[in-house]
């Protein structure tokens, strides 16, 4: 039973590892190329994750719950939305780097809508990304996409927060 539980919990990890092992025997050059490609992402992960963990933990111990509730909670209104966009836009790293930060903010009373805004902004409208985009695709392209994306995030974060309630979230987040 215990083994079964372990296998279920780590299904994804085991599957990926298995693919690597099989590839190594069947198409060795594929496996090596994949490992080589992974190195860039491992570097990216090591550059950002430790600092995200430390910053999240520091904010967790220093910023009181009522402050988060006031600035990012359900009743924070437009100010909360603006702050969420700001947090996401000045961030660094891929979307999974936002997970620990958002878990902490949610536990301290940030609204679901604002959490979704932070995650989405973190993913697509980061300032360093915008600079790169303007360079390769032009200012007009970048500005149009930015406006459309912000509008889309505003709308779908509202819809999503109507569909997902606090009761739908895992118990460990609602304590």
């Amino acid at each position: 039973m215990k083994i079964l539980k372990f296998l279920r919990k780590h299904l994804f990890q085991i599957a990926i590892l298995l693919i690597y092992v099989i590839l190594f025997f069947v198409r060795q050059e594929f496996a090596l190329e994949s490992a080589k490609n992974s190195v860039y992402y491992i570097r990216e992960m090591l550059l950002i994750m430790p600092v995200v963990f430390v910053l999240t933990a520091l904010l967790d111990v220093w910023v009181p719950k009522d402050k988060i509730l006031r600035y990012l909670g359900h009743d924070a209104g437009i100010r909360g939305i603006l702050l969420s966009f700001l947090i996401g836009s000045v961030s660094a790293g891929p979307i999974y780097a936002a997970f620990p930060m958002c878990v902490m903010l949610y536990k301290k009373g940030a609204s679901l809508r604002n959490i979704i805004i932070i995650l989405s902004a973190w993913a697509v409208i980061k300032i360093p990304m915008l600079l790169n985009e303007a360079k390769y695709l032009g200012l007009k392209f970048m500005a149009t996409r930015w406006v459309l994306t912000v509008a889309a995030i505003l709308i779908f974060s509202w819809i999503a927060s109507r569909m997902v309630k606090r009761e739908d979230m895992p118990d460990k987040l609602n304590q």
Binding site: I42, K135, K140
Partner: protein, 160 residues
């Protein structure tokens, strides 16, 4: 390291030093918390990373480009959006790539659809997101982002 990552390091480090002088106990607690967070997520994040490496090998950006350029706009858009959801390309590769797409006359709609789902919707991050935020949140957020990506792309096609 880009300038923004560097700034976040500097802010965090200053915060840590400030915290240390203000309250050693709290700082110790925070560092222990950070360490536990890291240990809890390390395996999942490592899996995400090697999965991306694998996907990039099986589906290199050039292959995606040739697929997108040879299709009708609608099929290309849906296809590009779907490829974007499973794979993840760093922005510094994605933007020049899409710049070349558009420069070579590929329609703007599939290019934008690809760009948005690439970063916002993630099949590789689903297991971790589900564990942290639950199934319903994850499904709703990713589905909504996918629909938004296609709509943004279509509107871009009309405007630009």
């Amino acid at each position: 390291m880009d300038i923004f990552t560097l700034i976040i390091w500097i802010i965090t480090f200053s915060f840590l030093v400030f915290s240390f002088f203000k309250d050693r106990e709290k700082t110790k607690k925070a560092l222990q918390m950070a360490f536990r967070m890291g240990r809890r997520m390390a395996l999942s994040i490592f899996t995400i990373v090697i999965t991306i490496g694998l996907l990039l090998t099986l589906l290199p950006p050039e292959k995606i480009a040739s697929f997108v350029s040879g299709q009708h706009v609608i099929t290309a858009t849906l296809g590009a959006a779907l490829i974007g959801t499973v794979t993840l390309v760093p922005a510094f590769i994605a933007f020049p790539l899409i710049g070349t797409f558009v420069g070579a006359g590929v329609h703007i709609v599939p290019s934008v659809a690809f760009l948005t789902t690439l970063t916002m919707v993630g099949v590789v991050t689903l297991p971790l997101e589900r564990r942290e935020f639950g199934t319903k949140f994850t499904v709703v957020r990713n589905a909504a982002s996918f629909v938004a990506a296609v709509l943004i792309a279509l509107l871009m096609g009309v405007i630009v």
